[in-house]
């Protein structure tokens, strides 16, 4: 099946350098794939796509109307495999990172020791778009700010793992992570036989437990998932998770704040809510306290939260820690709060706010990736080596006008995994988003969502930019 497959110059996760030198952990899968053959693989691939459509695993972009096109997230059938040994290290690294970030959030909204000790400049914190001064002096339930996060990891040319981004607000994709496995089991059961793939189906149970634990005032909490509604591109995920957990999926207008509590509007009157897994950004959560023009949120919700009468996951204000500039300080946070060395490295990051970094970035734009610190989804980005002179010039001006808003990183050759493009196998770039749950205990999903740049030669894996996804297997004894 792989006879015409040519690994790229980057780290190929199936093969060491050519198709005759498969990585040891891949050998059993490769033989199952060979038995299947390319034709059957393609046929089953179509069946998998139909299954996703039937399940309604679709998204539509925010700007399309009622009759806008709905698409499934392109699904690639060749699983990405991670060895158990690698995984143990990654798991530790993720837990370490989240622990430090939670301590940072608690510190920054309370005693601000890290600022006073001169580790992070105050101006960088207070100028961040994720900074929420409303949260100063607040302690969330269990003293944890990020119950649910999804961090982006990549492997470089040598196969070393790095953290690319911290997503600490409403990270999405977990439904695809679960759904991909379901589809693989349904359509490609033979690929599983004879090996142990770490199961992932417990995610909804852990998520529910994590949310329940936030309601420290009751043993029978009423939990809901707050969605912006069917026009949100992650709506499929919202309804999927609510259904998997057996909790209610609600929209802002289903809720009302009254006498310091939050209530659900039901056919038998108002019912109190204890925990809200909110999938609405801070800005839109509460028109009374944040953006006045939001019609997605609930007026007064922040006040009820601060009064301790409802729990919100994640707490408002966590966006300060996934500012792409604050990202560059995480290794220092780990040292500062935990007195440990960072287990999964950051990617080298230049902070345009600093004159020296800025000068370097402006001189080397054609070699760098520049990112806007507050944007997600692959928007507001410049990929130097793939850009025209005028695009580079345009970005140089943006940086000069608002240096605080930009960071730059060297262009990384993301690792590749064989994937189906137009019926043939190509090495496509991938990243990985594991999900971390933190209630009383913490739990890391084995593997995560592998996003794959299904356009030949593309480095951008985001779904909003034409990327797709793969099932991810953690295997080994």
């Amino acid at each position: 099946m792989f006879s015409s497959y040519q690994p790229k110059n980057s780290f190929d996760e199936y093969f060491k350098d050519n198709v005759n030198s498969a990585r040891e952990i891949l050998i059993p899968l490769l033989s199952s794939l060979d038995n299947m053959g390319l034709e059957e693989l393609n046929r089953n691939h179509s069946a998998a796509k139909k299954l996703l459509l039937r399940h309604g695993a679709t998204f539509r972009l925010n700007d399309t109307g009622l009759k806008g096109t709905e698409r499934i997230l392109p699904f690639d059938p060749l699983p990405r495999i991670i060895s158990k040994d690698d995984w143990v290290t990654l798991e530790k690294g993720l837990e370490q990172r989240l622990e430090a970030i939670d301590l940072f959030l608690d510190d920054i909204y309370n005693s601000q020791k890290i600022i006073n000790d001169g580790i992070i400049p105050r101006e960088l914190i207070e100028s961040s778009e994720g900074w929420r001064p409303q949260m100063i002096g607040f302690k969330p339930p269990l003293n944890k700010w990020c119950q649910i996060s999804g961090l982006d990891l990549i492997r470089d040319r040598e196969g070393d793992w790095h953290i690319l981004e911290d997503n600490l607000r409403c990270p999405s994709g977990v439904a695809y992570f679960l759904e991909n496995r379901l589809v693989m089991k349904n359509i490609f059961p033979n690929l599983f036989s004879g090996r142990i793939v770490k199961p992932i189906d417990e995610y909804p149970s852990y998520l529910l437990k994590t949310l329940q634990e936030l309601a420290v005032w009751t043993d029978t909490p009423k939990i809901v998932l707050l969605t912006p509604g069917i026009f949100n591109s992650a709506y499929f995920e919202h309804s999927y998770l609510a259904q998997e957990m057996g909790i209610q999926l609600v929209q802002g207008h289903d809720l009302v704040c009254n006498d310091d509590y939050v209530y659900l509007k039901t056919t038998s009157g108002l019912k109190r809510v204890d925990v809200i897994y909110r999938r609405i950004d801070d800005d839109f959560l509460d028109p009374l306290n944040f953006r006045k023009d939001s019609c997605l949120g609930v007026s007064g919700l922040l006040d009820v939260f601060k009064a301790g009468h409802v729990a919100l996951a994640n707490a408002p204000g966590t966006g300060i820690a996934d500012d792409k500039m604050i990202y560059s300080f995480v290794p220092k946070m780990i040292k500062y709060y935990l007195d440990e060395e960072i287990i999964i490295k950051n990617v080298e990051t230049y902070i345009c706010h600093y004159q020296k970094d800025r000068e370097y970035v402006l001189e080397n734009l054609s070699k760098l990736v520049v990112k806007s610190v507050a944007e997600a989804g692959g928007y507001g980005m410049l990929i130097g080596p793939h850009s025209t002179t005028s695009e580079i010039e345009e970005f140089a001006n943006k940086i000069k006008n608002n240096p605080r808003n930009f960071i730059a990183q060297p262009t990384l050759e993301l690792s590749t995994v064989p994937s189906l493009c137009d019926g043939e196998l190509y090495p496509c770039h991938v990243d990985l988003r594991p999900y971390i749950l933190r209630g009383k205990d913490s739990w890391v999903s084995p593997g995560g969502l592998t996003r794959v740049a299904l356009k030949k030669g593309s480095l951008v894996v985001n779904s909003s930019q034409g990327g797709g996804c793969k099932d991810t297997w953690v295997v080994g004894k």
């Binding site: 039937r54 399940h55 309604g56 709506y235 609510a242 039901t266 038998s268 009157g269």
Partner: protein, 313 residues
Amino acid sequence: MLLSRVAESLYWINRYLERAENISRFVEVSEAMSLDCPPGSAEPWLPLIDASSDRESFDKRFPEKKPDDVINFLIRDRLNPNSIISCIQMARENARQIRDVMTTEMWEQINILYWNMQEGEAIWNKPRQEQLSEIRRECQLFYGITDATLSKDLAWRFSILGRLIERADKTSRILDVKYYLLLPSLDELGGVLDELQWIALLRSAGAYQMFRKAVQNSIKPNSVAKFLLLDPIFPRSVRYCLDGISNTLKTIDTSPSTENPSELECMRGLLQAKWSYIRIEDIINHGLHEAIDSLQMDLNKLNVLIQEKYFIN
């Protein structure tokens, strides 16, 4: 406990699917009937548009009023909010809003139906009668799946409520429209018209076989009207639906006041009583059309009262 918004969506999903199903019945039977019609006899098409009260918008857009215009308007016209394709689209939009409440099987059924109705799907290459019976089967499959997989809680009750209200309305409309079509002048009331057409009417309402079982006699207009309006056990008769509506509302309302019943309480009780005890002769004597008209107004009123009590708060 059920969210008001969710109750409303369940109610409307079922109304829309029931509507789609009924339209498919109307078109299928009218098409079959038109093949049996001698030239110059009653024209079966435009009354179908009347049956859904969409005459005005139809006339504006299709001044030629060709049979194909009617059929497309009723089946595939996205600009007609009451076409089958629009009803199914709206049902799915509502279903998407409340996927977490429906069972996976229910959601998948409605989702498959929606995708099957999109352009380029195999269904449109089939003969029209096949298309229509497939659509009807898919809608009925949804009811079956609902009844077989959803707990019999409030969510289920609001589903039933929507289904029955729409069904009572549509059965009465088909009778109203066809009755006058088949009896062009009131003088002929009680006379014998082509039996084939009465059979077609019964088929429109999905009632032919059950009518035959219940009334072992030749097919007379009055006995057809009686069966469709007043039969106590035929599931598409107005009376049966009103019984179901009343009983369902009774189980939804957990604290009814017997001394001072709410407007909704009164309405459901009066409607049920009226259609349980009225005689077909009285209906015919006072005018069938008038009786059906007032039924439809009552159903609209009921809809508003349900809306006010359960969906807005």
